[in-house]
Amino acid sequence: MSEWFAMGGHGLYIWGSYGVAALYMIVEVILVVRRRRSLVQRLGRMIRMKAHADLEVPK
């Protein structure tokens, strides 16, 4: 098992490559999903606040 991870002496280079690539891709997915979620929440809140304000101050 440890021999497999050593990759014939190239382990550091191989895992350094795949590790960083995986990290970047996972982080990007998290950021994209989180941006969408917080945006939907924020806009939803704003719209509801506006609707309330319209009710309280009749034109």
């Binding site: 002496g9 280079y13 795949y18 960083v20 891709m25 990007e28 941006r35 969408r36 939803g44 809140r45």
Partner: protein, 228 residues
């Protein structure tokens, strides 16, 4: 969502093939396995740039807002793949060439590609008016397109440490100096990255649309029921 699932499945298959199916290389030993992430990332970095420039051009010609939004949605993912290509290239270069980095044509033009992506994003976010921002960053994207063929043909045009392409499209088919299983692994990993890009870019563009259209009635109706 569908593209994300397809990407995850292909990535799992591709990684399994990269590490357990593809044989040890007779010349480079196990180190060559970096290729299965390096080459797809490098291909994606160029492909995404061309697609991004096409969207930017469409936005500038027909003034379609969605086109510019697609361009700005693709830029971060393109920059990420460019960085991964450079990073994995450095980690592949060290054991094979004895150097993390050399200033040769292939590596330098790929670094310029990273700067083009960063410049595109910086220029777009620096201008407040979205239409002017799209026009300025779109122009930069279009000018930068000349860099893509330079990257692609750099290994033929100049003497370089970087190896030439192992896969060539000749008339009527694909010719490769690699074993068939290595080509297949490379293709699976490339399609995985492709679907990944589509999934992420589509998700990001939905956020961009919502941000730009926040004051319209359709967004209002859509989000009326959203939880806070």
């Amino acid at each position: 969502m569908g593209f994300g699932i397809a990407s995850a499945i292909l990535l799992a298959i591709g990684l399994y093939m990269s590490f357990f199916v593809a044989p040890t290389d007779y010349k480079q030993g196990e180190g060559y396995r970096i290729m299965f992430i390096h080459v797809p990332a490098a291909w994606m970095s160029m492909l995404i740039y061309v697609v991004m420039a096409c969207w930017a051009a469409a936005g500038m010609i027909w003034h379609t807002r969605l086109s510019s939004m697609m361009a700005s949605s693709l830029a971060p993912t393109g920059a990420m793949f460019t960085f991964i290509a450079l990073w994995t290239g450095a980690l592949w270069g060290k054991p094979m060439w004895g150097a993390w980095w050399v200033w040769d044509a292939r590596l330098t033009s790929e670094l310029i590609l990273l700067f083009l992506y960063i410049g595109f994003m910086a220029l777009e976010s620096a201008i407040d008016d979205p239409r002017r921002a799209a026009r300025a960053s779109g122009l930069l994207a279009l000018v930068g397109v000349v860099n893509v063929p330079i990257i692609y043909y750099s290994v033929q045009w100049w003497n370089t440490l970087h190896q030439g392409s192992s896969i060539k499209i000749v008339d009527g088919g694909v010719e490769s100096s690699m074993s068939e299983i290595m080509v297949w692994t490379l293709l699976v990993m490339t399609f995985a990255c492709w679907f990944y890009t589509i999934a992420v870019a589509l998700c990001r563009v939905r956020s961009i649309i919502l941000e730009r259209e926040a004051n319209t009635s359709w967004v209002k109706e859509l989000l009326q029921g959203a939880k806070s």
